[in-house]
Subunit: 422 residues, 2 copies
Amino acid sequence: MNKNIGIIGLGNVGEAVVESLNRYSALISRRSSLELKIKKVCDISRGKKVIADKFRLPFTCDPYEIIDDPQIDIIVELIGGIEPARTIILKALDRRKNVVTANKALLATSGKHIFSVAQKRKRRVGFEASVCGAIPLIKSTSEGLVGCEVSKIYGILNGTTNYILYKMRQENIDFSCALKEVQERGLAEKKPDLDIKGIDTLHKLCILTYLYYGLWPDLKAIHTEGISKISLLDIQYAQELEYRIKLLAIAKKGKSSLELRVHPTLVSVEHPLSHVSLNYNAVYYHTQPAGELLFFGEGAGGKPTSASIISDIVSIASGNKGFVRNAEKVRLKDFKNVETRFYIRCLALDSPGVLAEVSKILASYDISIASVNQKERKEGKFVPIVMLSHKVKEDNMEKALKKIDSLKVIKRPSQIIRIEDL
Amino acid sequence: MNKNIGIIGLGNVGEAVVESLNRYSALISRRSSLELKIKKVCDISRGKKVIADKFRLPFTCDPYEIIDDPQIDIIVELIGGIEPARTIILKALDRRKNVVTANKALLATSGKHIFSVAQKRKRRVGFEASVCGAIPLIKSTSEGLVGCEVSKIYGILNGTTNYILYKMRQENIDFSCALKEVQERGLAEKKPDLDIKGIDTLHKLCILTYLYYGLWPDLKAIHTEGISKISLLDIQYAQELEYRIKLLAIAKKGKSSLELRVHPTLVSVEHPLSHVSLNYNAVYYHTQPAGELLFFGEGAGGKPTSASIISDIVSIASGNKGFVRNAEKVRLKDFKNVETRFYIRCLALDSPGVLAEVSKILASYDISIASVNQKERKEGKFVPIVMLSHKVKEDNMEKALKKIDSLKVIKRPSQIIRIEDL
């Protein structure tokens, strides 16, 4: 069976898709009995014509030449960002095209509308490449776990931040130094906010929320913390305590509530998720009846991501049905009521009675301490006190921290990092 | 859409499939728009009727009542073993039924015939549950990696042996002691040979070979070693050298050759595969263009495995196409020519010149040593010498080992364990 494809956007991923479809076409047609043909490629920049020329493909700067082509069955949108990607996808669906996209920012913000239009038009939107690049996560879990309830998700969904945290630990360098190194290697943008503030992770968490629970949460309602406040000191203490710090996207489903959050997290070195190093991505699941599962692989990069784009193309071209995702009846849990364990690190004046003062405040907010570590190591006159708490409500922790930081003997700000016992 | 299912075999997995289909039927129909109905269940033992009664299902002791039922669309074979499972599956295909099976021993030995019959009859055989229980490995990799070449596979495919090795390391106990504990927990059979001799792992490696390279290798042509010769001493030395010992199924594809083997392997503690503990399974892949991937989850047990059975049922009932697996033109590499690094442990009489004698033999077979560790720790008068080699041909290693073991100063047998730098 022949299927014609149009590709819009020839950045890193777009170029890699053209290359991979070319290089692996025999393999793909042997396995799927499909002849996939790139009918035309498009980029707003005329300079990208060299890519088209290399593979002898028709090129255009006008996306509508692709969308309006009646011979094209599947549109691959690889522009990124909100506009014009959003309009292009919606117009393509209007013209009864199936769509494949890697655009996480767009899906996180406009997914609800895009998927409702797709449903009306009876067309599919493939989005395997939008979360965890090369990992066939969406296919594995939506189809492979079709009979399963997903109760907990812990995801390392952003390679850049994982690499920065890895570098800090491996090379004993601080955040800004690690960021610079990672930028020099081309693994972080010059404006890295989307990554380091956790926004990219948040976008992907939204897509997973749709995937497993059928709903698109309000981005603003999800507590999102990045990694810029993680100090080398914290990395080292975590290590001593046999934990590693990972930026996690977390989802926990209760009977009628859903807890969603993004923040740096202490993960035990005994857990496989703590060993996801470099810029790899991984997601750990608790499910019924399949039990615990982990998927690990490259989260970004043209070549790896092209594998997921091709998987979507083949699935759609083969006429496989997409899965329906009806919204489950759950409401988002208020972050104030979320309960976790905490790593608490204060810098205290080395004077008698400080620990007593801090402990008193914690106790007054029902915060019970599992272990305390007061170090002789000094920063000027300040001594780090590191505590691990039992489970405590966010609200209480926040109030206690404010009080602790108002003490004269404490050097502000004290650090808190949540702990997950996976 | 309604689909009728017949289940043959009500052991652990069969019972769990009945339970899961019952418990998650609303979820499944919401996601897939399918109404899956168990039309009848079968077990040779009449005692299993209680399971049928519990779920108000018709029960029979005669599998042909299910195979011959024209209203049944999908037959789930969960008897295990070769016969009568083989005949039942073939008859079911003859009667134009689709089949779902978890039977790895059968597929490894009769897969070629079964799949050729299925192809002729234009029916599908779902086998997600035959490798790595709950992990949606087959769907993820055959469909998710449809455009990828798989160049290397490293699999922990047997939970029982992984648990034994884990116990030995965690509790500092020897093999027989760990086996007993694992048997007491019900995680190893009373006759554990299939697991501990690596046969079960071999069966699953054969299925993966079919999946990625389209061919069913001759079981006898694949070097297969179990874990019973692994001593606590080796586990401890591996630990000191920052390795862990795992029973791995390994496949490496060259341009026109395929290397297949099953044996205990030293894996660096830096690699995520070394942290697959308890009775978990995991597979690590090298692919192009998707890069490196790891899948991790429960490898056995009724409930987890039922998730994979259901995934197969839904995929077949939805009319999704299976993927074609044409044999690639590769020949199996002769094990003698395989090259790996080795961990070599000898027990030597504590007399001068022993290390020189051993080294001389190794050198005479072109075996270059990367590190040597002669321990003061004594076993009687014998001192362990532990060496890690550079890459060396199997043939040379085998010959060198024989010579070393013929030395009077060496307590036979010396131990060799292969190392993989993943």
